[in-house]
């Protein structure tokens, strides 16, 4: 496979995973903003998914519609869903002969959907949840079509590598931002605080089934970092990343394979042999940043070893 093609597939996939993350986050936070007017703030969402500093974010924090406009359809915001989807589609466009026609058409439709002016208007005037649902469904179509139509070759491996690397980093970020506001006061067990966070990563129901004793910060950490059955957990993402990476083993690039295999293996052991208590002992923020740093290094290594074509 051409290095350029691998690169484009990887980024196409990362961008779409990000799109899914952002949209879910927006949907749940919007719902939450309708629930408690007093306390609700968009600060954490903005910190996780934009480059705005606190001062720049200030005019947004209590304006749901403004946040939605900025994060979904704003052309100037390079991290708006519109721009992320456009980049995903441009990547797909340049590798149309490596993805199935259905997959290309799905992304092309996604692109046209999000540029639809009616949608932009709806986001400002109508029920934003129905609009966000339309977009989330387009993303789900992408996942389904990838699963059903893409051949299980190298390209598929790079798509999944991008997807799980992005997902792992996202979960780490979300957790880190959520906890940073508590100033290490983990005694807080306010139901809505955790409920909406878990909902936004589709982990609420699992939490209820796993932990019967109400909300506890430690349990939240355990689920989001260490539960191998939770598809958005860090450990799940890292395991999947490794699984798809192993499919590159038979490729010609032995040295690159060994190097990155070592890096992913190290992260995997680190997460696998952590407990909530060991994480707390090290300090949650330090732990999360370290894992994130290492995942980013894996991304850089892919750039160097597999995608370098200039």
């Amino acid at each position: 496979m051409l290095s350029r093609v691998a690169d484009s597939l990887y980024w196409m996939s990362r961008y779409l995973e990000r799109t899914d993350g952002v949209l879910r986050m927006l949907k749940i936070n919007y719902a939450s903003s309708q629930d408690d007017i007093q306390e609700f703030s968009w600060k954490q969402v903005l910190r996780t998914f934009t480059y705005l500093d606190d001062a720049e974010a200030k005019p947004f924090v209590h304006h749901s519609r403004a946040v939605l406009q900025y994060m979904v359809t704003d052309k100037e915001n390079s991290n708006s869903v519109l721009n992320i989807v456009t980049r995903a589609r441009e990547n797909a466009r340049s590798v149309q002969d490596h993805i199935t026609k259905e997959l290309w058409q799905c992304l092309n439709d996604f692109y046209h959907t999000i540029r639809d002016e009616q949608l932009v208007r709806g986001l400002q005037k109508d029920d934003p949840v129905s609009i966000l649902d339309i977009l989330i469904k387009q993303g789900l179509l992408y996942y389904g079509i990838t699963d059903i139509t893409m051949s299980r070759g190298e390209g598929y491996a790079f798509i999944n590598i991008g997807k799980f690397l992005e997902r792992g980093i996202q979960s780490l970020d979300i957790l880190d931002v959520k906890f940073s506001d508590l100033n290490d006061d983990f005694t807080r067990t306010d139901t809505t605080y955790w409920k909406y966070m878990l909902l936004s990563i589709s982990g609420y129901e699992l939490y209820l089934k796993t932990y019967r004793s109400g909300f506890d910060a430690k349990n939240v950490i355990e689920q989001v970092v260490l539960n191998p059955d939770f598809p958005r957990s860090v450990i799940y993402s890292v395991n999947q990343l490794h699984r798809y990476f192993e499919r590159l083993k038979s490729g010609g690039n032995k040295e690159a394979y060994r190097k990155i295999d070592f890096m992913i293996g190290r992260i995997k052991s680190k997460v696998n042999y952590s407990t909530v208590d060991s994480i707390m002992l090290q300090g949650l923020h330090t732990y999360l940043s370290e894992v994130k740093e290492e995942l980013c290094e894996v991304g850089n290594a892919f750039n160097q070893e597999y995608f370098a074509y200039t």
Partner: protein, 512 residues
């Protein structure tokens, strides 16, 4: 500010102009059962593909009957569906305005253009003959130059052509084929005679529209194609792929074939991806390739992989910065040396521009007689060489009946339409021509045929041309039964170019 970053099909040449209907006699059809054909009139100076003066031609009867059974609402829905299909498949080009790209589709008219079996047989034979001669000419002109020595084509015509490449001299190309893919433009004058307007022998585009338009017709008019006995065009990628495989310099069962594209910002990018997908070959950009020791490799995740055949959609001058335009980012440094060593095949061959040059065009009938000892089947549009004093004087005396074209330009640039140009403009051209006559040719303005287009509930005649695609393989020349019909959608418009409001139609060739 609004500007086109590119034309949809950028290597399309501008066709020609036709007479404005001067005091045309109109034939109005009124005998039809629905309103569809009401007011379909054609002036008697134009050949209409659908109608004679009295009736609908037999080949169109099936389609006309079918259309008349449908309501305007249904037809409008079909048109809407066609648009949506193009959009969702990304068969679009981008217009940039205030920093933002807007996707547009290349207009598609839902009524097919129909060619009978007899007409097709004639076209097919004519093109086959012409390509045979053109390939021989290219081989000759880059090797022994018999045709120049025998004085059939003047030396200066060849050496003054900017597309003539010294780099092509004296090395054998595989199977002696220079033109592997040709898109030959045909037009019909008022009595229906076909003329060759241009031979496109470099990187002709538009074939994806031939394929996609057919797919759209299948969707919008279920069952209509088999009922009308329309021949399929789907063989095209298979034949092309088979021909490309046959060119591989390495004797291997599975040679590496790539399609070299200038990249996603090229107007024909959609076409490049479609062809790569349909043939199952790798779509590469210049930056994916590297030349080492006169061999071409592509950079893959598993290291370098040798490339055997390159179907390139990058023009000659951008192909190799070491040989041609040094600023080119689209090409591959060293590719020409690999080509000359015979380590890689390039399709079409470089240097073909010398054979589809507008001034050389005049000599194609002579080439056919010289190389094949046959009379040309398809006619040339009469063309005046402005280097020839007599011809120049004749043209200058009849400027209002002429089209003046620059020989080395395309896409409608550097053209003068005599019947509409002002005196001052004509004078300016005459001065320019006198300075450098080799750069210009003149052709009498020829009418082109009209075909029905669906416009707001009615059929209206609009001017069309035809570009069939011919594939030259080691054993034979094959012309897929179909082609691209371009149509001037604006009423009274004389130009079928996509940049001038032109669209396209599905082109049907009927089986016997």
């Amino acid at each position: 500010m609004l500007f086109f970053i590119f034309n949809v099909l950028n290597d399309f040449r501008l066709p020609f102009i036709c007479f404005p209907a001067q005091a045309a006699t109109k034939t109005i059809f009124t005998m039809q059962t629905s309103d569809l054909l009401n007011g379909y009139y054609v002036d008697n100076k134009t050949w209409d593909e659908m109608c004679t003066e009295q009736s609908v031609r037999q080949q169109y009867q099936g389609v006309v009957d079918f259309m008349q059974q449908m309501s305007i609402e249904e037809l409008n829905k079909k048109e809407e569906l066609a648009k949506r299909l193009f959009m969702s498949q990304g068969i679009t080009f981008t217009v940039y305005s205030s920093g933002e790209g807007i996707e547009k589709i290349f207009p598609f008219d839902i009524i097919p253009r129909i060619i009978t079996a007899a007409e097709w047989k004639y076209i097919e034979e004519g093109i086959r003959q012409r390509l045979k001669a053109l390939n021989l000419f290219l081989k000759d002109v880059y090797n022994n130059q018999f045709i120049l020595k025998d004085g059939i084509v003047p030396n200066e015509m060849v050496y003054s052509c900017p597309h003539y490449l010294r780099e092509m001299h004296g090395f054998p190309v595989p199977h002696d084929i220079y033109v592997h893919i040709a898109g030959i433009d045909l037009i019909r004058d008022q009595d229906g005679t076909f003329y060759i307007l241009e031979d496109n022998l470099r990187t002709p585009s538009g074939v994806s529209y031939m394929l996609e338009n057919r797919e759209i017709t299948k969707r919008i008019f279920p069952d209509l194609l088999p009922k009308n006995n329309v021949r399929t065009v789907t063989e095209y990628p298979t034949i092309l792929h088979r021909n490309l495989v046959s060119l591989s310099p390495r004797q291997t069962a599975n040679p590496t074939i790539v399609l070299l594209t200038p990249g996603i910002y090229n107007s024909a990018y959609f076409e490049h991806t479609t062809l790569a997908r349909l043939m199952g070959v790798e779509l590469v950009e210049g930056r994916d390739l590297v030349v080492d020791n006169h061999r071409v490799y592509m950079k893959t995740t598993a290291g370098l992989q040798q490339v055997d055949v390159i179907y390139r959609r990058v023009d000659d001058e951008f192909l190799d910065p070491l040989v041609f335009n040094a600023d080119s980012m689209l090409g591959v440094a060293g590719i020409m040396s690999a080509y000359r060593k015979g380590n890689v095949a390039i399709v079409n061959a470089t240097g073909n521009g010398v054979a589809d040059d507008k001034a050389i065009y005049t000599y194609v009938p002579a080439m056919i007689r010289y190389y094949l000892n046959e009379e040309p089947i398809l006619k040339n549009v009469p063309t005046y060489q402005l280097g020839n004093t007599e011809e120049r004087e004749y043209v200058f005396a009849n400027m209002n009946k002429m089209v003046i074209k620059k020989t080395n330009e395309s896409g409608g640039y550097g053209m003068l339409m005599g019947h509409t140009a002002g005196e001052e403009e004509i004078f300016r051209y005459q001065v320019e021509i006198a300075k450098n006559p080799r750069q210009y040719i003149a052709q009498p303005i020829i009418s082109l045929s009209s075909a029905p287009c669906y416009m707001g509930g009615r059929l209206k005649p609009r001017r069309v041309d035809l570009r069939p695609y011919a594939l030259c393989g080691p054993d034979c020349i094959e012309i897929v039964p179909g082609g691209l019909t371009r149509v001037a959608l604006r009423e009274g418009s004389l130009v079928v170019n996509s940049s001038q409001g032109g669209g396209s139609k599905d082109t049907w060739v009927l089986a016997g």
